[in-house]
């Protein structure tokens, strides 16, 4: 599918100016051509994104690798929630295995998603109440928790809206952090950018970030619950990831994953 660049998208959005304003919420723009038909508007206003940003309990070593947190939000004619979708991007690390002659590069060639870790919040469009939180619980397999199950921190609004997540080392997926005092707002993490996914989408696609992903999960936040994973299941990387699931003892466990 041919997709508009950010520059083209902005130009087009300005030209059409057919935005759909949501009462009580930041205005949003006409969806880009990569979004599914039921998405009626998207947005990347940073103040709006801060309302549901995760509180991250992140170790210093991982914080140093965190390049930025990039979000967007979407409204759908089929859902009563607004989806707030965040990706944490981490720097690529020199792989120890890469130094192994011949086989090292092969072992290092599993850099799926180039270490971009998703988390999303579905919030009631009328009340703002968090309904569901989904996040990458282990190698891009999803964990789904209801608003009642997830630990939420109150900060930006008059109700708890920020999911409390622990960043697992070294793979940067998330675990439910039940101690709400451990995390910090994502946008405050020193050295990390808090920006727009809509700005980055075409660049990441060009750079192959999503080459092993299920595009539906990337571009339709409402699909993740049903899909249970961000993987394109026809890829070898997906099979690698399933093997890693079997070896999860190395990473000290993970939350209960959707469908696995």
């Amino acid at each position: 599918m041919t997709r508009l660049s950010r520059r083209q998208f902005l130009t087009g959005a300005t030209a059409t100016a057919a935005t759909i304003a949501v009462p009580g919420l930041a205005s949003a723009a006409t969806p880009p051509d990569w979004s599914p038909d039921h998405i009626t508007s998207v947005g990347d206003d940073l103040a709006e994104l801060r309302k549901y940003e995760p509180y991250l309990d992140i170790a210093w070593t991982d914080q140093r690798q965190l390049i930025g947190i990039y979000g967007w939000y979407a409204d759908s004619e089929e859902h009563d929630t607004r989806a707030y979708y965040y990706w944490c991007k981490y720097s690529k690390q020199d792989s120890l295995s890469d130094s192994i002659p011949v086989f090292g590069p092969l072992l290092a060639a599993d850099s799926h998603f180039q270490d971009h870790e998703p988390a999303l919040v579905l919030a009631d469009r009328d009340t703002g109440e968090v309904q569901t939180v989904l996040y990458s619980g282990y190698h891009h397999f999803a964990v789904e928790l209801s608003g009642d199950e997830i630990t939420l921190v109150q900060d930006e609004t008059d109700q708890p809206t920020h999911p409390s997540l622990e960043v697992a080392s070294p793979h940067h997926h998330y675990r439910h952090q039940r101690d709400e005092t451990r995390g910090v707002p994502a946008h405050t993490i020193s050295g990390a950018e808090f920006g727009s996914f809509l700005d980055k989408q075409s660049q990441w696609e060009q750079n192959g970030v999503f080459k092993s992903s299920n595009n539906t999960a990337i571009f339709d936040p409402y699909s993740v619950s049903e899909l249970g994973t961000w993987w394109d299941k026809s890829t070898i990387d997906y099979q690698f990831a399933r093997i890693r699931l079997l070896l999860n003892w190395r990473d000290q466990g993970h939350d209960e994953l959707v469908g696995e």
């Binding site: 520059r7 890469d98 011949v102 590069p105 075409s202 060009q206 750079n207 192959g208």
Partner: protein, 522 residues
């Protein structure tokens, strides 16, 4: 550079060596890698940084400037994904589609194993002009020759002689070539007379509309660059690419070497008190582009940036009295951009006929006019200088992967012990280049024409033959301003005017270039 013979495209060349279009080409990496499955080492002169990182020049694809800008944005995002890379902000150029970055080799994906495994490093990204990725290197300008320097003529061994006898007419003979003893110090006026660029030869046009650029060791803001009112014609936008932040200003491009200033004086000196030292374009504006340090060394990155700057500034003629035996995709790309912006690049052939021999990059690029050197004599008497590089290029020994195969000199101009205003006498194709550029500048002033191919065709068509030199040495002959401005074609072209001696020498060079067997032993 001109070449009338069929030449392989890069793609054809790649397929001929069994490489696919998605692999890195010999053109970009032959000078930058050691062969081998696992190993990699940087080439001589590679610009290195801490932690085994090097600077790389990375071009992107894109149909237009907007698409290239988007791709550069994506590239910056990708490079920003590594914790060991940094982007050199002042070397991003959206219109030309290139940026430079400091990165370890694995982030680039330039090792053999990276290519074999595929999809590793930024070289694997679809929007990258993979064949153009180049490690930044420092190249050193050959010192201008002096009468005290070598005037040796290469001896050929028995095997080489036998092969040349078998495939051609024997080894090149020195008879008819100019050595030191044939060169007398001469003021600039003699070069203008030799190229019919004096008021006695033709009605000289007002050159105040012309802008020339000198990419070199700098241009000192000397009095000979003042106009009649005492205002400097050295443009304030002159830029020093060898200093951090690329400072601009007349003082920023001061030349501590003299090489660049000599070229500027040849091109544009105004010397009302001594007409013998006046340059070809005494009213032209001069853009100084300091791409080489005062020792005559410069990086590919800086030189390419200077060439692009000439394009951005709307320069008419760009003098490039610099070169390296190794082909550079970055400089070739920069030249292509400058030409697309209406610049006429004029490049010196090189002073290494006895060793690397062939027209050196960037003169070997199709985007330059390549100039060899002769004695400072009228065409009928001029001799080709023993140091002046020749054609046709074999396309192999410069690591271009066939890009320069067949490259020839376009013309040759006086370049032996030639004195320019304030800068003394110098010798080399570096001096011949601005003489030819000066003639071209007169044509631009007269016609307003800045299309490279149109100018090249006219320059060649109107050049006077140099009978004592071979086409392989002097191309179409010596530029002639009177002919060029009048559109007059000489009675005889270079090839038909050659003496038997010159023709034999040219035949030997042809055999040396085209013979696979000779290339194996030489």
């Amino acid at each position: 550079m001109t070449d009338d013979r069929p030449r392989q495209t890069r793609r054809e060349h790649l397929y001929s060596i069994g490489a696919g279009a998605s692999t890195l080409t010999l053109a970009s990496l032959a000078p930058t890698t050691d062969p081998g499955l696992l190993g990699w080492s940087a080439p001589d002169g590679a610009v290195s940084h801490s932690d085994d990182r090097f600077s790389w020049i990375i071009p992107v694809e894109g149909e237009d400037a907007s698409a290239r800008a988007d791709n550069l944005d994506a590239l910056e995002d990708e490079l920003g994904s590594y914790d060991t890379t940094s982007i050199l902000g002042d070397r991003r150029h959206d219109a030309a589609g290139t940026l430079s970055a400091v990165a370890p080799v694995d982030a680039i994906g330039a090792r053999t194993r990276d290519r074999l495994l595929g999809e590793r490093g930024i070289a694997a990204l679809e929007y990258i002009d993979t064949s153009g990725i180049e490690i930044n290197r420092t190249v050193t300008l050959a010192e201008p020759l002096t009468p005290e320097s070598s005037d040796a003529w290469q001896d050929f061994g028995a095997l080489e002689s036998t092969i040349l006898s078998a495939v051609g007419g024997g080894v090149p003979q020195p008879d008819g070539v100019a050595f030191d003893s044939d060169m007398e110090q001469t003021a600039m006026q003699a070069a203008r007379e030799a190229t019919a660029a004096t008021s006695a030869d033709t009605t000289l046009p007002d050159t105040s509309s012309v802008t020339v650029a000198v990419a070199d060791t700098g241009v000192t803001n000397a009095a000979y660059l003042d106009d009649a009112d005492g205002n400097s014609r050295l443009l304030a936008d002159s830029t020093n690419f060898t200093a951090d932040g690329d400072p601009t200003g007349r003082d920023a491009v001061a030349d501590g070497n003299g090489h660049g200033s000599w070229c500027a004086a040849c091109l544009a000196a105004r010397t009302p008190s001594d007409a013998t030292l006046e340059g070809f374009l005494p009213a032209a504006s001069v853009l100084g582009l300091k791409a080489l340090d005062d020792e005559g060394s410069g990086s590919l990155d800086n030189i390419a940036a200077a060439i692009r700057a000439a394009g951005d500034a709307g320069v008419d003629v760009l003098n490039l009295s610099l070169g390296s035996p190794q082909y550079s995709t970055s400089i070739a790309n920069a030249l292509e951009y400058a030409v697309s912006e209406g610049v006429i690049p004029v490049a010196a052939n090189g002073n290494d006929r006895q060793a690397t021999r062939w027209v050196s990059p960037p003169a070997s690029s199709e985007h330059t006019i390549a100039v060899g050197a002769t004695t400072v004599d009228p065409p009928s008497e001029a001799l080709s200088a023993y140091y002046s590089n020749i054609g046709p290029h074999n396309g192999v020994t410069d690591g271009s992967g066939g890009q320069t195969q067949g490259a020839m000199p376009d013309v040759a101009a006086p370049g032996c012990t030639l004195e320019a205003a304030g800068e003394g006498a110098k010798t080399g194709t570096s001096m011949a280049g601005p003489v030819a550029a000066g003639v071209i500048g007169l044509y631009v002033a007269d016609s307003g024409e800045t299309d490279l191919e149109t100018v090249r065709d006219e320059l060649q068509r109107t050049a006077e033959p140099i009978p004592k030199a071979a086409t392989e040495e002097v191309g179409h002959g010596m530029p002639n301003a009177a002919n060029l401005l009048a559109g007059t074609e000489p009675d005889e072209d270079q090839e038909s005017a050659e003496t038997d001696e010159a023709a034999a020498r040219g035949g030997a060079y042809d055999a040396m270039s085209g013979s696979w067997l000779f290339r194996q032993v030489s």
